[in-house]
Structures are given as C-alpha cells and as structure tokens.
C-alpha cells in the first residue's frame, strides 16, 4: 500500500514559472477594458457608458481592432457541427421516437453525438446520424471546462499509445480502448461490454491522469498536447502523475515540446 502525507507547499504563480515578460490583462465582469471607442467589441464584452466593459471573467485578447475577453471557465455554448459526449437523462417523447429510438438508445446511456441545430435560448439538438456516433461502451470519462478543448477538424483520435479519445466540445472527454476492427455493420448502437485488458487499462488510466494534469495547468487539450504529455509521463508511475510537483514537471516538458514543434 502507498500513503504519502506531506506539508503543503505554496504554489508558484504560473507566469513566474513560464518567465512571461508581459502580464496578462485579467478582468472580471464589470471591469472597464478600455475607454477608447475605436475598437470593435468581440466575445465577452459589451459597450456601456462610452467604454468597453467585460461581461465574463478572463484575459483580454486583442487582434488589431478587435477586443475580446477569453473566459477562463465557461458553460458550453453549442455550435452546429460540434461533437459532444454526454449521458441521456431525458428524452423528448414523440410517437416516432417511441417506436424507433427507444430500442437503441435509452435513458442512462452514454453517447457521442453531433450538434445539429442551436436554438436562440442556447439549447442544442443532437443527431447520431453517422456510424461513428452512438452509444459508448467501456471507457473513462473526464469532465473539463469546455474552454480548454481546442477546436479541430476531428475530435475522434486513435492515439499511437494504444487508446482512443473523443474530445467533446462540451468538455466531456471519453477515453476508451481502440477497437480492433471498425464495426461497420453494428454502428454505434451495441455497446462492447467485454472485459478490458490490464495493458489497455494502464494506458487509459495514464491518459486520464495526463489530461487532468493538462487541465490543472490550464493547457489546451488536443491530440498532440495529450500525446506529448503521455510521453513525458512515461518515466513516472501512473498514480504519481497527479502529485503536484510531478504534474508541473510533466506539463512543463509538454509545453516545451509544443513550443519547439511550433517554432
């Protein structure tokens, strides 16, 4: 058995450890961003009394004449084409529904779906009209802030380390063992309930801890960042990844590698 008790250590400010020269301009709702009316207002801002005011808590970003506030933590705002992962809690009762769908997808099922339409009140309607969507079988769910999921061409990734992930735009991340063959015939309506091998489960647990590390250090989640983080974590035991000092080290290495790749 393992037990570690320690005294708390004061956390370093992230900007200090990164050596950032310019501090981020952080605002809270109601803060004045600028009194210069020449700017166009973007997301997270509104005009009031001849000045630009922030409507969300986050950092101010400026692109030429456009000022917007990037929120640190957001509720999910759906957009057409987004991939979401979620659990069915309630179903709309229509006659067509009753006859057809109930047999395949029921309340309590975990599914992946695509956003079909967005209503004015923010509600979205989902569809699973493709074989890649549907019921999710065995795997691990990690819930993160939607603002940390990077928008990419595809949100379904088969990672080379031996597992697959679905990066839901709504912040729900599904990690599961890579299926051996693509089940074209069944589609996404029959969940695979066979036991998962220990090796696969180790990969999945490691990925889960890596994703949590990235999120704790406010890093964007996408296939490359997750993969680099996984590789940086390999020298450590899976359960040690969540220790504060090891988490910092792994994410620092990931950040370094991502910067090198970009530059």
């Amino acid at each position: 058995m393992a037990m570690e008790m320690r005294l708390p250590v004061a956390r370093k400010r992230l900007s200090e450890s990164l050596g950032r020269e310019s501090k981020k301009h952080l605002v809270v709702p109601g803060d004045t961003i600028t009194t210069d009316t020449g700017f166009m207002r973007g997301h997270g801002t509104y005009m009031g009394e001849e000045k630009l005011i922030a409507s969300v808590a986050g950092s101010v970003e400026r692109v030429n004449k456009l000022i917007c506030v990037k929120a640190l933590k957001t509720r999910y705002n759906g957009e057409v084409g987004d991939i979401v992962v979620g659990r069915i809690t309630e179903r709309r009762r229509s006659a067509e529904d009753e006859l057809a769908m109930r047999g395949f997808l029921q309340e309590g099922d975990l599914i992946s779906a695509e956003v079909q339409a967005v209503f004015s009140d923010g509600a979205v309607s989902l569809h699973t009209r493709s074989l890649k969507y549907g019921k999710l079988g065995q795997g691990v769910l990690v819930q993160v802030s939607p603002s940390l999921v990077k928008r990419q061409k595809t949100h379904f990734h088969d990672l080379p380390c031996g597992a697959s992930v679905i990066l839901g735009n709504n912040g729900f991340i599904w990690i599961y063992p890579t299926p051996e063959h693509k089940e074209e015939d069944a589609g996404g309506f029959i969940a695979n309930l066979e036991p998962v091998s220990l090796a696969d489960r180790e990969v999945i647990s490691r990925l889960r801890n890596c994703i949590i590390s990235l999120v704790t250090q406010r890093m964007m989640l996408y296939d490359t960042s997750i993969l680099y983080c996984y590789e940086a974590s390999l020298p450590h035991q899976i359960k040690d990844i969540l220790k504060p000092e090891i988490m910092e080290e792994i994410v620092m290495e990931t950040r370094q590698r991502l910067l090198e790749q970009e530059g």
Partner: protein, 283 residues
C-alpha cells in the same frame, strides 16, 4: 457513472487513477491555520478539503463523570463544498459525521479526559471541536478523522491553578504567560479508515466516482497500535461476514500506516518551529 470498467479493474489492483486498492491519494496537512482557536488543522485529500478548529473553554463536568472534562463535536457542511449542501441539505450528513466522531472517541483511552479536569465536580475543560467541510471529493470520514487528530495535537490549553482561600471559596488563576500551556497526548486518538466494496474487492480512499459505484462500505476506527475502537457499516448493499473480516483486517493494516505517516508529518512541522512559512488558504 461508468460502473462496468471500475468493477473489472478492481480485480487486478488498478483503479481508474492508477492507484492500487490500498493506495491513498496524496494528503496535505497543516496545523495552526486559524488564529483565534486553541488548535486547528487543515487536511487536503485529493479534492476533499477539511478544516478543524478546537476551542478549549471552561465548563462544568458532567454529573456521571465528575473528574473528567469532555469533547463536543460540531460538523458544518458548507454550501461551498457541493451544491447538495445548499440550505439545510448538509445537516443530515453533518449530524451523521458528528455522531460517528462521538462514537470513536467514546472510550477511556482515546483522550485522557482526566487531564482536562480542573477541580472535581466544579470546573473542567471542554474541548469544542468544529469541523468544516470546505470541499467534497470523496472519503470524508478518513480526512475528517486525520484533521481532528492533527488539530488536537496542535491544541494548547492554558495552564490554570485553583486557589482556595480561608473561607473555602475557590478562585481560578490563569497563567500570565500565554505560552504556558498543557498539551494533549494524541497517541491513542483513532483515525477512520473507510473501505468501500466495489464488485468483489474493497478499496480505501474512494473518490466520489468510486463511492457512487459502491453499494456498501465499512468504516473502521483504528488506533496507532492497530486496535479497532468501533466499526460501522454504511450503504444500501449487504456485506457477507467474510468480507467484513477481510475489510477490517485491511483497515487495521492501513490504519497503522496512516498513523505513522501523520505522526511523522506533525513532528516534522513542529520541528520547523515558529518561523515556518504558513501556507494557509491563499498559498
């Protein structure tokens, strides 16, 4: 929640976060975090955050125990911890935890209550132990018991003298020196080890998700010597006698290591002396 993968993983000692069935998450302990208390401690176990404050006040001994002081426990489930605690939502859990604390301390050896007596039948020290749940991340009982033990270790009770004059009326004199205190021996203070049954195995230090998958749990109160002071079964599911025995043995084994780790951290903190950097709440 996704109960299937968790159940099968327990059969091979690998939990979702990579821990084994008998592994605890990293624990952070800090004492003396609240200034106007006789003793205090803060414990962070994963996402579970507990704050305990102890206030020593003078009171009258209970009629049936005239030579002893006593402890009173209050548990506040803060609405900050989880939305379920809004309004009076946390009251039931608070009462359950307080009753459990009364039970585990309800024996002759946990705390030397006679040392809290000032003058028999008249004056004694009452230790008011306030537990505040700041965040709920699973395994509340274990974290609370660790925090209570650490806070009692940190508690400083002012030294008093009873002066009797010729007419027989007594006066209580408090020492002038604020550092002239007596401390409690917490050697026999028990800690709780919660064992959650998931599938065919049991785990210690369950996260919220693991607790949701567990139908039955056993709370075992263990001293540093491995003596069980009390046990309680919680949950809607059933436990067979063999499981209970196995879980109790695991509880004793794990409990001893828990005490050793806690004692070494508390002594390390004390050895840093009054100049140690306090982290507190803004660190």
């Amino acid at each position: 929640s996704h109960s299937i993968p968790v159940r099968s993983s327990e059969t091979e000692d690998l939990r979702v976060d990579g821990r084994g069935c008998e592994d605890y998450r990293c624990v952070e302990v800090e004492t003396d975090v609240v200034s106007n208390t006789s003793g205090s401690a803060r414990v962070k176990l994963g996402h579970t955050d507990i704050l305990v404050g102890v206030k020593a006040e003078m009171g009258t001994p209970k009629l049936e125990k005239p030579n002893e002081g006593y402890l009173e426990f209050f548990v506040d489930c803060s609405a900050n911890a989880t939305p379920e605690f809004e309004g009076r939502g946390g009251d039931d859990l608070g009462t359950e935890i307080a009753n459990t604390l009364y039970r585990i301390f309800n024996n002759k050896s946990s705390i030397d209550l006679k040392s809290l007596c000032i003058s028999p039948r008249e004056h004694c020290w009452v230790l008011y132990v306030d537990v505040l749940l700041l965040e709920c991340g699973g395994n509340l009982f274990d974290a609370i018991s660790i925090a209570v033990k650490a806070a009692l270790f940190n508690t400083r009770i002012p030294r008093v003298r009873v002066l009797e004059d010729e007419e027989g009326s007594k006066d209580i004199e408090l020492s002038d020196d604020p550092y002239d205190c007596i401390r409690l021996s917490v050697e026999n203070v028990p800690c709780i080890v919660t064992l959650c049954k998931i599938g065919y195995r049991h785990v210690v230090d369950a996260t919220l998700q693991e607790e949701a998958c567990s139908l039955a749990s056993l709370l075992v109160s263990v001293t540093s010597k491995g003596v069980v002071t009390c046990m309680r079964k919680v949950g809607k599911g059933s436990l067979d006698p063999e499981s209970i025995f196995e879980m109790m043995e695991t509880g004793k084994r794990v409990g001893k290591v828990l005490h050793t780790s806690l004692q070494s951290v508390l002594h390390k903190e004390e050895s840093l002396g009054p100049k140690r950097q306090k982290v507190g709440f803004l660190g």
